[in-house]
């Protein structure tokens, strides 16, 4: 588990204290009790604070699992490095 | 009921219930939230009044500024709701958009 994944897992555990480390990695909207829209928004808030970002999306479906969040984080990291690269030409 | 009758009744209610009798000029399209007349802790009182006064049932997802944030909007919303007959066995009508 890399640093990003560990920090994301920490966010999940802050919002769903009952989740064990194993359960976090495979957490989805249907597998976790108490996963409702308020929980998702809480996760968004916690992830924003942890990673110092602003999540630019209202699409709840994209954030319906641990994987979904991880995918989003990886995408924005790629976007960042792409825009960095574009200055080098 | 005429739209203006509904508006007048709503206006009277707002003056007595939220402004405690102090009259204020509230234009029919003026935002009640923006004017500070009704805030979120008071909007449920408005809902209770509308249900009692006009015999309608206000659904949770209808409690939005689009429907309630000015006397004109409230009147239009109530009129829409009044136009729907209630089944005599008490089941709730379908909302129409």
């Amino acid at each position: 588990m890399n640093d990003k994944e560990a920090r994301l897992a920490g966010c999940f555990q802050a919002v769903f204290p009952g989740l064990s480390a194993d359960e976090v990695n495979v957490a989805t909207a249907s597998s976790v009790a108490n996963w409702d829209s308020v929980a998702v928004v809480t996760l968004l808030a916690v992830v924003e604070e942890e990673f110092g970002i602003t999540i630019d999306s209202d699409d709840l479906a994209a954030f319906s699992s641990y994987d979904g969040f991880l995918r989003y984080l990886n995408e924005i990291e790629q976007d960042e490095s792409r825009s960095r690269d574009s200055f080098v030409s | 009921m005429h739209l203006t009758d509904i508006q007048n009744e709503v206006y009277s209610f707002i003056i007595s219930n939220f402004l405690f009798g102090r009259s204020m000029d509230i234009k029919e399209n003026e935002s009640l939230l923006g004017k500070g007349v009704i805030d979120s802790t008071g909007v449920l009182e408005l809902v209770a009044f509308l249900e009692e006064q006009f015999g309608i049932r206000v659904e949770d997802d209808e409690v939005i500024p689009d429907n309630l944030d000015s006397t004109a909007r409230i009147a239009a919303y109530v009129e829409k709701k009044i136009g729907i007959p209630v089944e005599h066995n008490g089941s709730r009508p379908h909302a129409f958009e």
């Binding site: 928004v41 | 405690f20 802790t41 009182e45």
Partner: protein, 647 residues
């Protein structure tokens, strides 16, 4: 712990013993054990004692052995033992074992700077005979009260306003700008009080009266600048340091020649102070709490759990809506200012229980929320900033529902309305008072009840603009979290929590409250912790919880914050109508006092009687207006009646 009062005639005329007797006579609830007056030329000092340290010899007013310096003092200097040793080493002599004498000798050694050496809670006046000066001081947080006024050449001070009003030329008139401030911030902004020309010495300030002049200054201020070493420190180490500071703060606050009890509300703060007291004192500790008939406010299961876990001997006093109505006039007689909530009333009953149980001193948990990130208003501000980052989002406002899970009304609020109420427009995000706007703007709506005369008198006075000018320049460099904590610590804590709910309610039954969380060493450490240590994600008081895990029940650590509240408007116009409330809110009486619009008040009362009123705003309006009317009735009108009788 005591009551103090005094007079200084700036023109050198002799001070009057019967004036001082009259003043101190109103403060015997603060000091039932003894009282005395000392007059020396133009100065007079009076003291009413609640004997706690050095019961035999600690009588006041007290002087240094050489008789050149006198003091009348309310409070405790908890590090008096250490200071005493230092002063003895410097050659000072002591005739008593009291902390009072330590202040005197510290003043002789350090002058006005002596206050920086004190760790405690105090309001005192020192008469320096050689310098011909009166030196007044108040503790850093405003735990103990101190009021003053000047009429002609007479300077007067006292622990409570009622003492000042005994001086014939001191008039009782409501300060309308003060009223405007209360109906915005819940408190007046010191030195202003609810009464015209009667002032309070602000917390962390001293005042010198000499050569006909009155001069004041601030000797301490709270900083929320995040400490560099704390930012990089491991959380475990910070938790250990917090624990150690709190343990010492509690230990020195157990110094007493009479037994000390604790308040145990069921919340984490008082459970922490009780746990530490239990550990240090290792005796059968007495704890006290309030229980409510109304389940919405009651916390008895947590209180019982804490008591069992910690092994205290617990008592509680039950509080119903009619109890609150019954004691409310007495409560206002002691708060000496209007209140927006009835919450002081159960505290009044609680101190009564403590007194009946034979106790004079209790430890209690106030102060933790303001420096360790406890209040909902901080969580609320954090969530609001999150919502404001994308104001077009439909999803973000949903998080506002997590704010007040215990308040049914809020849970039913539609997101769009919550968003507006909680103020997350772009311009709000850059407002220095962002965290407090929802509360202040809601409260300010109560001003719609002001009479035309009040509105005219207040004019375009803008209470918020005034305090913006008073913000220290460093404020803008602190984190948003620190800024919110500062506003609570500076305004609501001394003006309401420590006074109307704290000192005034305890002293009404001759009980002294002591606050381990307000040990200034702890406050200085805690205030400067990184925001993330205080609120991790949405977990309030994170570091405190970490420091005490295992030492207090887990259920208390994990429970959501339940702010201390009591039933409000329905106490007066619920199942039954309270007679004095009906009278004081009747059109004739309201018109007579001139502060509120009679028909608006009548409509409000009707709304309560009909059962339609339930909003936060309506409850605040009723309590705010009723308490103001009670204040006028008890202080303004009765004084003119008393004066009329004298003519």
């Amino acid at each position: 712990m005591c009551g103090i009062a005094g007079q200084l005639n700036l023109n050198g005329a002799p001070a009057e013993r019967q004036v001082l007797d009259a003043m101190i006579g109103t403060l015997l609830h603060r000091g039932p054990d003894a009282h005395a007056v000392h007059v020396a030329g133009p100065v007079g000092l009076a003291h009413a004692r609640l004997s706690i340290i050095d019961l035999q010899c600690g009588a006041q007013p007290m002087s240094t052995i050489d008789g050149h310096t006198w003091i009348t003092f309310n409070g405790e200097i908890f590090n008096y033992i250490e200071l005493r040793e230092k002063l003895i080493a410097k050659g000072h002599r002591f005739a008593t074992r009291s902390d009072t004498e330590v202040i005197l000798n510290a003043y002789r050694e350090f002058g006005e700077e002596c206050v920086r050496h004190f760790n405690g809670q105090w309001a005192f006046a020192i008469w320096d005979e050689r310098e011909r000066k009166l030196f007044l001081s108040r503790d850093r947080f405003g735990v103990r009260p101190l009021f003053y006024t000047q009429v002609g050449d007479t300077f007067l001070f006292a622990s409570e306003i009622k003492a000042l009003l005994r001086f014939p030329e001191v008039s009782a008139e409501i300060d309308l700008k003060g009223l405007d401030q209360i109906f915005t911030f819940w408190v007046t902004v010191p030195p202003r009080t609810a009464f015209k020309n009667i002032f309070q010495l602000p917390p962390a300030c001293s005042l010198t009266v000499a050569g006909g002049n009155v001069k004041g200054g601030q000797y301490w201020s709270i900083s929320y600048a995040e400490a560099a070493d704390a930012k990089n420190a491991h959380e475990d180490r910070l938790a250990e340091e917090l624990y150690a500071l709190l343990e010492d703060a509690t230990a020195i606050r157990l110094r007493s020649d009479v037994p000390v009890g604790t308040y145990l509300s069921g919340g984490i703060d008082s459970t922490v102070t009780t746990a530490l007291a239990r550990k240090i004192a290792d005796d059968r500790l007495r704890s006290f709490s309030i229980t409510f008939e109304d389940a919405e406010f009651d916390e008895r299961s947590y209180q019982q759990e804490a008591s069992q876990f910690l092994g205290t001997q617990h008592s509680n006093v039950s509080c119903t809506s009619s109890d609150i109505a019954r004691v409310f006039p007495q409560v206002i007689r002691h708060t000496e200012q209007p209140v927006i909530r009835t919450a002081p009333a159960p505290m009044y009953l609680l101190s009564g229980l403590v007194r009946e149980s034979g106790f004079k001193v209790v430890l209690t948990g106030e102060g933790a929320d303001e420096v360790l990130g406890g209040y909902d208003i901080f969580k609320e501000a954090k969530i609001r900033r999150f919502v404001g980052r994308d104001s077009g989002s439909r999803m973000r406002p949903l998080l506002l529902k997590r704010l007040y899970p215990y308040m049914q009304g809020i849970q039913r609020q539609p997101a769009a309305y919550l968003q507006h109420f909680f103020r997350v427009r772009a311009e709000d995000l850059s407002n220095p008072f962002f965290s407090h706007l929802p509360r202040w703007e809601l409260t300010a709506r109560l001003k719609q009840f002001f009479s035309a005369e009040v509105r005219d008198a207040v004019g375009d006075f803008d209470a918020i603009t005034e305090i913006e000018r008073m913000l220290p320049s460093e404020y803008y460099e602190w984190s948003y979290f620190g800024q919110a904590e500062y506003l609570e610590a500076k305004y609501l804590m001394p003006g309401y929590i420590l006074s109307s709910q704290g000192d005034r309610m305890a002293m009404a039954h001759s009980v002294e409250g002591r606050y381990p969380f307000l040990d200034y060493r702890l406050v200085e450490f805690a205030a400067r912790l990184p925001a993330a240590a205080k609120m991790k994600a949405l977990d309030q008081k994170h570091l405190l919880k970490k420091a005490f895990r295992g030492r207090i029940p887990d259920s208390i650590i994990q429970r959501p914050k339940q702010p201390y509240r009591a039933p409000d408007g329905k106490c007066f116009f619920g199942l039954a109508t309270t007679d004095y409330a009906e009278e004081l809110l009747s059109p004739e009486v309201v018109r007579n006092s001139g502060l509120f619009d009679p028909s608006a008040v009548t409509s409000l009362v009707e709304k309560f009687k009909s059962g339609r009123a339930s909003s936060i705003k309506d409850n605040m309006a009723l309590v705010g207006i009723l308490s103001t009317q009670l204040l006028v009735n008890q202080f303004v009108q009765s004084k003119s009646e008393v004066l009329a009788q004298c003519i």
